[in-house]
């Protein structure tokens, strides 16, 4: 009986780790798509108006950093599930 409970406990820990990893991976998909859109549109803008490249790159950099915050939230959830 005790062995069975120990096995169940291990299985729960394993599932927690799998869930954390899956959650982190899923949380990184959205920002990945978002960064792709931001950079793609920034490159289109720079190609249409090369003189505005500096301004577009400023917006692009901030856009990337804000989008990345979503992935960082997923990363923090991963940390909390795995190590807390």
């Amino acid at each position: 009986m005790i062995d069975l409970l120990a096995q169940a406990d291990n299985a729960v820990d394993g599932l927690k780790a799998v869930g954390a990893g899956l959650g982190y991976g899923l949380a990184a998909i959205g920002p990945g798509v978002g960064i792709g859109l931001v950079v793609g549109n920034a490159i289109t803008a720079m190609a249409r108006q090369p003189e505005s490249a500096g301004m577009v790159r400023t917006t692009m950099f901030l856009g990337i950093a804000f989008t990345e915050a979503l992935a960082l939230i997923g990363f923090v959830v991963f940390i909390l599930l795995n190590f807390a």
Binding site: A28, V39, A53, G54, R57, E68, L72, F75, I79
Partner: protein
């Protein structure tokens, strides 16, 4: 104006100074502001979580700073090459930086002072806080890409001294 500054700044139309690599300027400004606020955050971490909180908070701040520096460095480097390289650096850099962050945190988790809650909170608060704060000083005009004219002039004055 010194030579180093000349390399980073070029004179655009109507003699207006145009910053050609805005990412570097933005991140340098952001980090300077972050360094000024970090001690207050570490004191707060100590009051809430104790010594472990300070160590984890400092580590979290260092990770966020390194993440910003890596992002700006990669984009600046790729921006000099081509738009395709910029796309590659943005998406490849995103994956690379997340992988490095994960490895850094897993490696640090073996240390006795590692505390996940202050580390996680520090990462989110410092990343978003610095970004939101920086948006106040960023200019979105053709004449002054990167930092706004007032901020840029202030920094130039400091660099010229």
């Amino acid at each position: 104006m010194n030579e180093k500054l000349d390399e980073r700044l070029t004179t655009g139309h109507d003699g207006v100074i145009v910053n050609t690599e805005p990412e570097k300027k933005i991140v340098a400004d952001m980090l300077w502001r972050g360094i000024k606020v970090a001690p207050a955050w570490l004191v707060l971490s100590f009051l809430i979580w104790g010594t472990d909180g300070v160590a984890s908070g400092a580590y979290g701040i260092a990770l966020v700073f390194a993440n910003f520096i890596a992002a700006a460095g990669l984009l600046t480097w790729a921006g000099r090459i081509s738009p395709g390289a910029l796309m590659f650096a943005a998406l490849g850099g995103f994956i690379l930086r997340l992988a490095v962050l994960t490895i850094a945190v897993i490696a640090a988790s073996k240390i006795s002072v590692f505390a996940p809650v202050p580390l996680g909170i520090t990462i989110i608060v410092s990343h978003l806080g610095l970004l939101v704060w920086e948006t106040r000083y960023v200019s979105l005009s053709l004449a002054y890409p990167g930092l706004g004219p007032a901020r840029l002039a202030q920094k130039q004055r400091k660099e010229m001294k």
